[in-house]
Amino acid sequence: MIVAEQKPLKEIQSLVGEAQTVLIVGCGTCVTVCFAGGEKEAGILGSLLRMSARMEGHEKSIGEVTVQRQCEWEYLDAIGDRIAEADIVLSLGCGVGVQALAERYPDAIVIPGLDTKFMGLPLEQGVWAERCAACGQCILGLTGGICPIARCSKQLLNGPCGGSSKGKCEVNPEIECAWQLIYDKLNAQGRLDLIMEITPPKDWRTGRDGGPRKIVRQDLRLVVTEEA
């Protein structure tokens, strides 16, 4: 899932600024699961903003609505009227959700209430960790299912570096050394031959380095365009 965290209240307030009518839009998917921008969080943030506005002596009209999936335009159609009434739309979706809103409603002023962090998973209640950096050419088959792009601090393809110590990364003892994990896994499975050979440099074009990415699946398209 996409893991995000709510921005500090101060920052949200300064983004909201003088706006009178604020619509908070939560999202029912990833950010609900990571307790950052679901219905519950939208409600709490709404109360906080109302309370602090009142304490500062001005009234703001703050509404909340949560859509099932903010990152798809069709899920946003139902809230058109609410958006039209708002001076500002405070999205509690991930960065994709914020942009989907801004694209679907070009006249609306949309601001982010979350900081989108990474693609990852919950390790335990309240703890999430990064797992994939969407490099566009998955190599997990070579590395025992442990991603060195997202999980090695230096993205080494032929690790580990000299700083790997007692299973921890040199950067911070909180970080597990991805290459220790890869070694342990492949060793336990008797598959160390996978990393005996030198992995050649990666073609980063499949990642962000090739420019913003897009996938076109002709087999799924409703309007098929003739391409030369």
């Binding site: 700083g163 040199e170 070694y183």
Partner: protein, 323 residues
């Protein structure tokens, strides 16, 4: 290749190693400013006492004069540089253009490194690159030399850079069992020489080298053991406790501590610590010479270049061969 008389690069370091001499390299840290005089001075101290000196590349992720810039000054001062290059600060374009430029300016040795993570240094907010890793960098520099081709496969028309290619290895990094194989991977990538991380735990290093020798890697690549004089017991403790991947046994720390016992005068105490640090370093060199597969030592006397001539003298490694 003919003009190099069968040498890969023709560097002094390569010649010394090929001739079978016990090679010695040292380290020269460029200043955190633009003062070339600092480099000239340090080069003057090391010149004639070592076969080549590594010019560090933003070591510990702190901005310093570039390895090429300082390397050229060292070269002009009569000290053969080993240009260091990390994968942290440049992508393959930047690296290759610096390799071409460095070679044109007289660089003949290179050491390929991953680079300390930028969060350790003075620009922790920066982006890192890591377009390629240190093993792939070795392959790339070897490709420039042996295939006269750029990393992309394009042929180099005209003079191609011919470096003597080095890599680093930390025998004490984890996983310990994997390190000899990783060293083997570096040899396979085409590395000509290896400089190791600082060694204080000799028994553990012997164990590592035994495995390296069993794999036959010492026959494919010259291995220079990293040694360095400790200045104070505090430095020893710091390395033991704080530096990831360093192994400083308690007895080394205890020796450093004992050296200052009973000395009141601060200056005398500092001198006694340094003296013990030098003594340990010379002993380490003697021990390294006995280990099968070791072709030389790399002396890291960080911000203490003056120590190098003393160590060389006491270790009986002078005068240096002129191959």
């Amino acid at each position: 290749m003919s003009e190099l008389n069968g040498y890969k690069s023709g560097s002094n370091l390569e010649k010394v190693l090929r001739a079978g001499h016990f090679a010695v390299t040292a380290e020269l840290g460029p200043p955190k400013n633009a003062d070339g005089e600092v480099v000239r001075k340090k080069a003057g101290i090391l010149k004639g006492f070592v076969d080549a000196a590594n010019i560090t590349d933003n070591q510990t992720a702190i901005v310093r004069m570039s390895s090429i810039g300082a390397g050229v000054i060292a070269f002009q001062s009569g000290l053969e540089p080993v240009m260091q290059m990390t994968c942290r600060d440049r992508n393959r374009l930047g690296m290759q253009s610096d390799l071409l430029g460095g070679y044109a300016l007289g660089m003949r040795n290179i050491l390929c490194l991953s680079g300390d993570h930028q969060t350790f240094g003075n620009h922790p907010q920066s982006k890192n690159v890591h377009d390629i890793d240190s093993l792939q960098l070795v392959q790339m520099v070897v490709g420039l030399r042996d295939k006269a081709s750029l990393q992309c496969g394009e042929e180099i028309k005209g003079l191609n850079p011919r470096f003597f290619v080095g890599a680093a290895e930390n025998p004490f990094g984890d996983p310990f069992d994997w390190r000899p194989y990783r060293l083997g991977k570096k040899a396979k990538a085409g590395a000509d020489f290896i400089q190791t991380q600082l060694i204080y735990n000799v028994p553990r290093f012997r164990e590592f080298m035994k495995r390296v020798v069993d794999l036959g890697v010492h026959k494919q690549v010259y291995i220079l053991a990293g040694v360095g004089p400790l200045k104070t017991p505090g430095a020893a403790r710091y390395m033991r406790d704080q530096v990831p991947g360093m192994d400083v046994p308690d007895e080394i720390v205890a020796r450093m501590e004992a050296a200052g016992k009973g000395i009141e005068d601060r200056k005398q105490k500092a001198a006694a610590f340094k003296e013990e640090g030098l003594r340990i370093c010379v002993e380490l060199i003697q021990q390294m010479r006995e280990i099968e597969g070791i072709a030389g030592v790399h002396i890291m006397a960080i911000e203490w270049e003056e120590a190098v001539p003393i160590i060389m003298e006491r270790a009986g490694l002078l005068p240096r061969p002129v191959p």
